[in-house]
Amino acid sequence: MTALGSLTGGRRRTATTAGRPHHVVAGRLALGALAALVLLALLTPVLSPHSPVLRSGDAFLPPGSAGHLLGTDALGYDLLARVLYGMRASLFAAAVVITFGVLFGGLVGVLAGALPGWADAVLMRVTDLFLALPGLVIALAVAASLGASYRSALIGIAVVWWPLYARLVRGEIRAWAARPHLEAARQAGVPWGRRVVRHLLPGVRPTVVVAASQDVGGLVVALSALSFVGLSSPAPAPELGAMAAQGMPYLLTSWWVPIVPGIAVMLLAVVANYAGDAVRDLLRRR
């Protein structure tokens, strides 16, 4: 999954541009936009003008039609409602995958970083094995084996995403463990578990938060790709990738049917990427 992680990670900002006001403003805007999108996702059932899976008008109404801001699709379903529910599903999926990655990958990383050499070696060999395989391809195979559904797609991506966090956390733990305050804690007789929880984990947290926040955009895009290939919920479930795939036959006659869901994915990804950068800059300045 390094492939997609790299879409969000590794953005560079030189020291000279880092603390400038316009940059801070842009970061705040991005964070605000992400907060708005999350709020929108939470309130979708209340805000959605129509049901996403019920006919609410004529088919192929163009965007801007009365009562259908983004138009309707081939079945007369309201696209705005479907896109809102689709973005909700995307954000929820990203949250689930990241939570699992941080918890499970983090646990593996902590164990590898804090346990003696042989345990570290075994855990990291397994992690490396996962990282050596093409993430999306494995995710695809997992999702297909479990039978195409939203849950399968989530499991597929989660299976290949946690090793990134395991590596990251393990590296951080090792770095922090070498610092004098850890040695001091050990000399003072603080037990192992307490040392990890009280003295190591707080140091690791910022790095993990930054990585997690930068992963959201890539995850949304990766999940939409799985959904586009047909490995998520079957129709008519409102999912952005599947909506685009099912709308493809109408691309040249009613472009908005497949394009609007794609733009929604891009909107989520761009906002999430900029917000991820803003989180990183905020934490770095501290």
């Binding site: 050596a132 999306l136 479990l146 939409s224 685009a244 691309l251 891009m266």
Partner: protein, 331 residues
Amino acid sequence: MTFALRRAAAMLGVLLALTVALFALQQVSGTDPAKAYAGANASQAALDAARARLGLDEPVLPRYLHYLSGLLHGDLQNSLRTRTPVASDLAAVLPASLELAACVLFLAVLLGSVFSYLCASGARGAGIVRAILFSGAAAPTFLLGMVAVLVFYGHLGWLPAGGRTSVRDAPTGPTGLLLADSLLAGRPDVFGDAVTHLVLPAVCAAIAPAVAIGRVLVDGLTANLEADHARTARAAGLSERAVLLRHAARNSLGPALSMVGIQAGALLAGLVVVEKIFDWPGVGSYLDASVAAADLPGITGVALILGVVYVVLNAVVDILQVVADRRLALG
């Protein structure tokens, strides 16, 4: 040399893990190969016979070894959809994908280099290029593909919307790669036609990896331009351009090369999406049809092929890096 051997051994280990993973997935999938083999309406006796014949009544380990030896003999099981061996299905569609993938890889490296050159040289408009490409990388490949079809086929009519060629009597052999075959057959018309069909899918699939590669190159270039050796080169009177191309670029190649290996995964995933949009008769379209038919042998067959390509490509990239920089062999 010893590094190459060690890397090759590691590669074999990873490939073995890939087969274990795919085998395990088939075990948990809940589909019954015996039922697929004997047919949906088979009697219990026929099912049992099929089970014994396929070795399904054995414990897991012998079954895995059986599966593995099958793979080594080129047996990827039979497709439930086409009723033919997955291996021969894939052999038929693989050349089309290889051709597209090679073009995507070439374009990704080319675009990534151009992008990084524009950013690092500080030319006017570098910021705009940067912004466009970063947003482009956030766009899902399917959106890029569909917008490209809409604009270049639907509105402008410059390029075809799908398929490999519109020439009816296009040569199909001997390599299966249309670009090579058309030249071998002395058919420049087919070659040109094939190129027009390749442009849109290749560019769409190349953008995401190109940005990732370009980003690593930009980092390397800017770091190298601030380094002492670049200052020395400037002091010796070299132009900024020469410093960039001759002194900074060479030192930035290593990380960019490993990024190419990493991006191969995104490239393969993009390939699958792009083939579906552009109706490209390759592995991705085969996968799409397999998914639609819930044909698990077909899906795992594609996953295996893509996985093997990815793992081997990364091993080759690692070895190439050591060839370029011997110090890495010690690490």
